[in-house]
């Protein structure tokens, strides 16, 4: 095995075990911290795939924003989060085989992809040029400017929606009179 393969295997094992702990940990704060480890492992995979910009975005958005948001939500709902009698619902025994069957199906499906055993050819371009290309493609009228703008509007709508939804309930008439 080459050095890159050893790095991949270690990252893969850590990422997978952390993912298992995310769904298995009874304490939600621990689950959120395992989620951070999983996300960091995925960032390393992006680096191995030579998508350096996406690795940085992964750390900034997922670890920096989403994981912190999840931890805040766990803390705001703390008493009930840890007080649940059981962390899994009544049909968890159906969910487990469903996940295993889906995994088998995905492997069968992937093995029929033309490039399943493909080995990456060395990139023709410099890594710095790749980032320039990505930036150009995002704002190029011939490229992906429309999906990019739609994603921006979606983020704005989600932000406003989140604020409106999380507002405290309006006081009722009696409360106003008191």
């Amino acid at each position: 095995m080459t050095v890159v393969q050893i790095i991949f295997v270690i990252t893969a094992i850590v990422t997978f075990l952390a993912a298992i702990m995310v769904v298995a940990s009874p304490n939600l704060i621990h689950a959120a911290l395992w989620l951070v480890l999983t996300l960091a492992g995925v960032a390393v995979l992006f680096l191995l795939l030579e998508a350096a910009f996406l690795a940085v975005v992964q750390v900034a958005i997922y670890i920096g924003a989403i994981a912190i948001l999840v931890i805040f939500a766990v803390m705001l709902t703390r008493q009930v989060s840890t007080g649940l009698a059981s962390q899994v619902n009544r049909t968890w025994w159906l969910a487990a085989p469903a996940a295993v069957i889906l995994f088998a199906g995905l492997i069968v499906l992937f093995s029929q992809v033309a490039g399943f055993q493909a080995v990456a050819e060395p990139l023709v371009k410099e890594p710095a040029t790749l980032v320039v290309d990505l930036g150009r493609a995002l704002v190029d009228a011939q490229g992906y400017v429309l999906p990019f703008e739609v994603a921006s509007v979606l983020l704005l709508a989600a932000m406003i929606g989140a604020i409106v939804i999380a507002l405290p309930p309006a006081p009722t008439v009696e409360e106003k009179g008191a």
């Binding site: 962390q87 619902n89 996940a99 992937f110």
Partner: protein, 102 residues
């Protein structure tokens, strides 16, 4: 070098773990964490296919960035919903939220 299949198998495994989390956990925040795992697995696949099959075009990376944006929106709205539900009903267990259940 690493064959494409290694990435695909790892991504499928993480996706299925996330699916189990989304289906089996009772706590709504834990369900959201499972969904985040699934979105991450999809991103691994997108970038792996981009790198191995079509590194010349930027489509794969752009798609992954759109997934990032959707994941951020989903987390923000989902957690706002959970906090709002917690304020009104003092629970975040998904099977207690049966207001819209027939």
């Amino acid at each position: 070098m690493i064959p494409l299949s290694w990435y695909l198998v790892l991504a499928a495994a993480i996706f299925c773990v996330g699916l189990y989390g989304a289906l089996a956990r009772r706590n709504a925040v834990a369900i959201l964490m499972g969904i985040e795992l699934m979105l991450n697995a999809v991103n691994i696949n997108l970038i792996a296919f981009w790198r191995y099959l079509n590194p010349g075009s930027m489509g794969g990376q752009v798609f992954a960035i759109i997934v990032f944006a959707v994941a951020a929106s989903e987390a923000a709205v989902g957690l706002a919903l959970i906090i709002s539900i917690y304020r009104r009903r003092s629970t975040v267990a998904a099977d207690d939220l049966n207001l819209l259940k027939w």
